[in-house]
Amino acid sequence: MDQLLRRHYDRIHAVCRRITSNEADAADAAQEALIAVVRGLHRFDGRSAFGTWVYRVATNASLDELRRRRRRPLASVDADHRREHDDAARPTEPADPAAERPIDMVAERMATDAALAGLAEEFRVPVVLRDVADLDYAEIAEVLGIPIGTVKSRIARGRGMLAGALGRHGNRDGSPGRPTGAS
């Protein structure tokens, strides 16, 4: 079991990190996801791939964490975000090897975090499941319980808005896009 959890932790964390958009919530959500996997293992019926099932659990844990976050005072969310970015920029912090990269890399990561955070949940989650978890459209449809056509559309729109927010042209006129507001 230890081996199984270790094998999947990093990608579970990655999904949680991208859905929640901050490290503290991601760590909590990833831990909740692992516990949910352990508790729900006997309900895994083998109809889907184990990875797909795990990402569904991770997605639900992340969304639960976001709901809890919304109930917290806004100031604490801002503080979390600031603390996280401060940590990422601190050169002596050993947790993240990327923190030692040039400052523009950190800036790009912060921009990506901000762009994702600004994306509505309905677009962010399918994009994360596609681009981070590497699930295919059918698997994402299964995880989210929505039609495949909707998955394709939401991923396209989500990517387009992200590209716009990151200064890459995803819009009709090539200008930066307008995220649809925080979830």
Binding site: L4, H13, A27, R39, F50, D131, L162
Partner: protein, 290 residues
Amino acid sequence: MTDDLHPDLELASRALDEDTTVDERARVQASPELTDLVEALRHTREAVAEVPVPAASGRDAAIAAALSVFDELHAPAATPAAAASAGTPGASAGRVVSLFRRRAGWVMATAAAVLLVGVLGSLALNGSGSDDSTSGATETDQEILRAGADTAAPAAEDAAGATELTDAAPPSTISSIDSPAVAGIVVNDPAALLSLADELAPLAMTSAGGAETLPMTPTPDASLPDDGGVGGNTAGTVPKNRIDCPLAPDQVVFADILWQDIPAVGVRSTTTGVVQAVSYDCIVLVTVGP
């Protein structure tokens, strides 16, 4: 809010995911604007996919918490009742089989019997020899005999026993099961599990005595394709004596497997043909009809 998005955004996005028809692909390739859009989305995807590595301390803490929950949930699973409540196949039959311990006992008994016969034969043949040679042989043989008797005794007591395998066990058969690292056959889909059962369960059935004598973990066959089905890759290892589950009288274990990354055994009912993957903690991971 999203009306100003590019009209061909979905096409570009699907092109990035290689989910386009031939015509659509040709259209994207023929349009510099669409090609640029695909590249922009590709860079965006790379940025999203580059996730900060989690801190090791957070990983360890999360795994420890989950394992703690796992231990709480499964500590009583060794009892038939607890295993039954977890949905173990054939729980109603109430037959608790320490499958691999039984296998170990069977091997030990066989090995000890062979050893004893050999030693006794040797003693009989040497019985007419000189005193010197006899005494020398006898001394050595008696040591072997004592070792054999020591080994045979607990094995003969049965099986349930927690006897460890020794080098005396036949290396190509059951011994591999209780060796410290055992390969499981990677099985990722129900059809592959059925196919594996069709292939191996008859072999298991021809071993007289049913489950206790089924014991062979087939050597992974490198010639089989590693396509997510019954493959030859040997990912993962399994612990010793790791299954202690109630089985119905008609259920036989036909292989050690890795069912979608979970170490398990393949079990088939000889009456209904139903095949299941059962994890080491007696959880039915999948049930497949005949």
